[in-house]
Symmetry: C2
Subunit: 282 residues, 2 copies
């Protein structure tokens, strides 16, 4: 099958690599408004050819939309308009799902679109960041499947089977709440932690010679790209605010323990946090 990838960055590029490797895609067409990315993606063998949006849509059996979520919402209706009808399928891979589904709710070709979110990524971006086999073993969320034509759903399920992902079905509203908890808030804490420490560095040059693996691990996501993350936070604003408020109130408990020198409760809070072991080993 010919697959067109709109957006040849980390996620689109990694999908292209894996789908080609697994024999799912016979040919990958790349569409990107960033010419530098297209050239790089060709050089790296991520895509086989470059096309305009119009011909990229026309020639593909599967179109993967892998661009920032705001751009995805505004482009998707036009992409569905461009389908020749028939058996073509469009899927997106964005980190928020309610808005993009709202944008095509009444579209006559709504059934050709599958809203998904493969739960994998790194803090890097662009075609150079694309990885072979990055998705394997992670979850892929498929939203509101009952609104999708059965053949379109089946094709996208095959995509995620090829990527060796665990398929999880969920409505878009639940997805956006859960994503705020297990992905979006992690990014905010990481950005804020980086800023906390960078603020201090202005006074003290030496501070980072001490940075250890624990610091690197918690602050790694702070390297993530604002062009991807601002639209996510914007689209998932209410859920992210809820979780952020909860997180600040959890931090205040630690603060209060230290202020009041209540070390028994501090112990409890830390012990309780250790319960996350149970979850991470799932």
């Amino acid at each position: 099958m010919i697959v067109t990838v709109i957006g040849t960055g980390l996620i689109g590029g990694s999908m292209a690599l894996s789908l080609k490797e697994k024999g799912f895609a016979s040919r990958i067409i790349g569409v990107d408004n960033n010419t530098g990315h297209l050239i790089k993606a060709m050089e790296l063998g991520i895509i086989d050819e470059v096309a305009t949006l119009k011909t990229g849509i026309r020639d593909a059996g599967l179109i993967i939309l892998a661009i920032p979520v705001d751009a995805g919402v505004s482009m998707l209706p036009g992409i569905l308009d461009g389908l020749s009808g028939g058996r073509q399928v469009v899927m997106d891979v964005g980190s928020t799902k309610a808005n993009i589904l709202a944008a095509v709710r009444e579209h006559p070709l709504r059934g050709r679109f599958v809203a998904t979110h493969p739960m994998w990524g790194t803090e890097f971006s662009g075609p150079e960041a694309a990885e072979h086999g990055g998705f394997a073993g992670r979850s892929a969320v498929i939203c509101d499947r009952e609104q999708v034509d059965p053949d379109a759903l089946e094709l996208v399920e095959k995509v995620y089977d090829a990527l060796e992902m665990r398929k999880v079905y969920m409505d878009a509203v639940s997805h956006d709440i859960h994503a705020a908890y297990v992905s979006h808030i992690s990014h905010i804490t990481s950005f804020a932690l980086a800023n906390t420490v960078l603020e201090k560095e202005k006074e003290e040059d030496a501070i980072f010679t001490l940075a250890s693996g624990g610091f690197e691990s918690t602050v790694r996501l702070a390297k993530s790209n604002p062009s991807m993350w601002v639209p996510i936070f914007r689209q998932n604003r209410e859920n992210v605010l809820d979780v952020l408020n909860e997180h600040i109130s959890q931090l205040r408990k630690f603060k209060s323990c230290l202020e009041k020198e209540n070390y028994e409760y501090l112990w409890e809070l830390i012990e309780q946090a250790g319960e996350i072991r149970r979850v991470l080993n799932k």
Copy 2:
């Protein structure tokens, strides 16, 4: 040289393994108030023999104190009392330095003690968590070296050379401030993030099927042991509170951006956080 390790957990055990491997230690004596740890450490070949505190001190050229920081502060004066004088050296590896140095400031054998902090660890604990070569490439802080006998300093420098660590010299007060920024706060954010999400899980079972690598990375440290961390936060309380206040105020900036829908400033905050790249690649 015979080395006694007091505390045969993650850090003491990993040092024992490396010092033996590198030929620095001819024999490792283990001292621990946890008998299970001693048995495990023998089984794993981390230590060669078990001793009481008294004979462990008596028989060693180098004594490594690798126990929680509160226990370290209370035991160190007695350990120095037990030295036969001469050439024996004691070093600690705790995450806070001002308190332990204050505890022996007036001790007649103060010069035999070297206060250090190797900036490496994992979220696991006990002898099973000990790793070969874990310290390599990281920084080891040596505090207040001007108060140490030259031969004692030289021996500890050889220890860190054997571990392939970068030696950093610093006064204890500066160390504790920097450690609050690049290590202690990361643990608090991780504990608080775990509690934020676990709180939500009570309502929603499905949430963790979605947990991705980004979440795991920011929450990994939440598995750390309270028996190690409560004493650290207690001893470094004022610095940790300063950093925690700063971190909460950085998080409030994100909150305010979202509340006011000020996406330009949100973009700036994220871009600014990305400066951490410069630091992590050092």
